[in-house]
Amino acid sequence: MILKKHIATHVGTIPRSGIRDFFEIVQSMKEVISLGIGEPDFDTPWHIREAAIYSLERGHTGYTSNLGLPELRQHISEYVARHFSVSYDPKSEIMVTVGVSEGIDLALRALINPGDEVLYHEPCYVSYSPSILLSHGIPVAIATRAEDNFTLTAEELEKKISPASKVLMLNFPCNPTGATQTRGELEKIARLCVEHDLVVLTDEIYSELTYDGAKHVSIASLPGMRERTVFLHGFSKAFAMTGFRIGYTCAPAILTEAMMKVHQYAILCANTTAQDAAIEALLNGAREVDSMRKEYELRRNFIVRSFNDLGLDCFKPLGAFYVFPKISSTGLTSREFSLGLLEKKQVACVPGPAFGPSGEGFIRCSYATGMEQIKIAMERIAEFVEETRR
């Protein structure tokens, strides 16, 4: 039996993730300092882990409602209203998911008919284009530029809008660039979305991690947007809860109902222990989030200055925990740079094109790694750059 011909075409044709290739090389090496990690280095705060243990002790081990624990949805509703200035009904407009990843998949599957175009800015998170393809949509990337600090401009968006455009995906603060959007630019984008009747999926997983006093603005809170937006958020980054796999969607009831149909048959409900832990995070997690945020900010300052001192242009991002320095001045491609750095200096970073072709000439370095490790990594990168230029 030739199994390969039985693989569905739209799955078989999706390329392997560039990150996975790289991961396998890194795995085979020892003593590597990794700036390639897309999750916090902090353990989940103890009080949250303790709440998960307590949940198990009480025997909370059954299914929950498809939408998630009512108490958790209530707290999510209050949290979103407080931090993002937009309110959702916990009974019909909020659904707890297995991370934001599931939320993106649900939203795309609930919205896309074959041939619908989905716009997204690039470089972007690795799952966007494949998720669109898996739901039979057509991915339409909008390249963002270093000159614009990797923000999405309304002007560039408008150029890519066609009669087939249905959905716009946003991710600010952005993985891999750390870029954020100003209120002014978001307002222009919002007007375009209303004008062209686009639905917006906004992945705001990094929204608590903003720096230099920057205030995060959600597009869902802008005029005319709540009714056409799926707001996606979760606990992974701000609360250092990646392995708990808890996210949520907030969207008008009709859309939530549609996404819930996919969710209830594919997943049933998110993990119950993790939902209990998430309640604790929302109730008592603010102080720890702030202290982690402060620590990230210091590391960001350090790493940005270090790259610029090396003559590798690196804009100072206002969010997430990534920097996206430009390495093309070394004469190497992103992949050559990353592989060389790994082989000669045992420092791992991710080549920019793993996040889309417009990432060529850049690398992504995560500063979700202890300051001491970052220091050593930057010393080794300095040596590597000097040896390359020689």
């Binding site: 993730s17 990150i19 790289f22 991961f23 890194v26 795995q27 590597v32 990794s34 390639g36 990690i37 897309g38 999750e39 280095d41 353990d43 998170y125 690795v126 799952s127 993985n175 402060k294 210091l298 590391r299 300052n301 350090f302 200055r305 270090s306 791992a348 991710v350 793993a354 300051m371 220091k375």
Partner: protein
């Protein structure tokens, strides 16, 4: 200033150049801020954090709950200061609750500590009673965990 102190709390030996990068200031600015904090007495000193169970000092540590008689005019201050002056006393705090002073004492042997309490501390006029508890094992010292955590299981590269 608050961030500078938090960085120094993590590592008081961090080079000025590293502190300056993390705070996004010049080295001169950071050096001046540290001088100022020292001058103002906000920073009192820089000490090493030692795992007491691993060091060869073999010190014995005791927490002593001390009840004292407050004095007219000075309250607890004069007596507390007097107790704090002993070199055996590592820390001395005025407490709320069932007793007045919490005195943390360190000595080479159990006898050293015992004789400090019976001969020096208890005999001070105004000290009403003492209750002594010896330290058996340390789990965390000055914010540094002494138990060995498993190393992180994070994937080396992830999206």
């Amino acid at each position: 200033m608050e961030l500078l102190i938090s960085l120094l709390r993590q590592n008081a030996r961090a080079p000025i150049a590293d502190l300056a990068k993390a705070l996004d200031r010049t080295e001169d600015e950071v050096a001046a801020q540290i001088k100022q904090l020292e001058r103002e007495g906000v920073i009192l000193g820089y000490q090493v954090v030692v795992d007491p169970d691993q060091s060869e000092e073999r010190a014995v540590t005791a927490c002593i709950e001390v009840s004292i008689t407050p004095e007219r005019g000075g309250g607890f201050d004069r007596l507390a200061t007097r107790i704090a002056r002993f070199s055996e006393v590592k820390s001395c705090y005025l407490m709320s609750g069932g007793y007045d002073l919490l005195v943390i004492v360190q000595g080479d042997t159990l006898q050293d500590v015992a004789s400090f309490i019976s001969e020096k501390l208890s005999t001070i006029k105004g000290v009403i009673s003492t209750a002594t508890r010896f330290r058996l094992k340390a789990y965390k010292e000055n914010g540094v965990a002494l138990y060995r955590e498993e190393t992180s299981q994070r994937l080396a590269v992830s999206p």
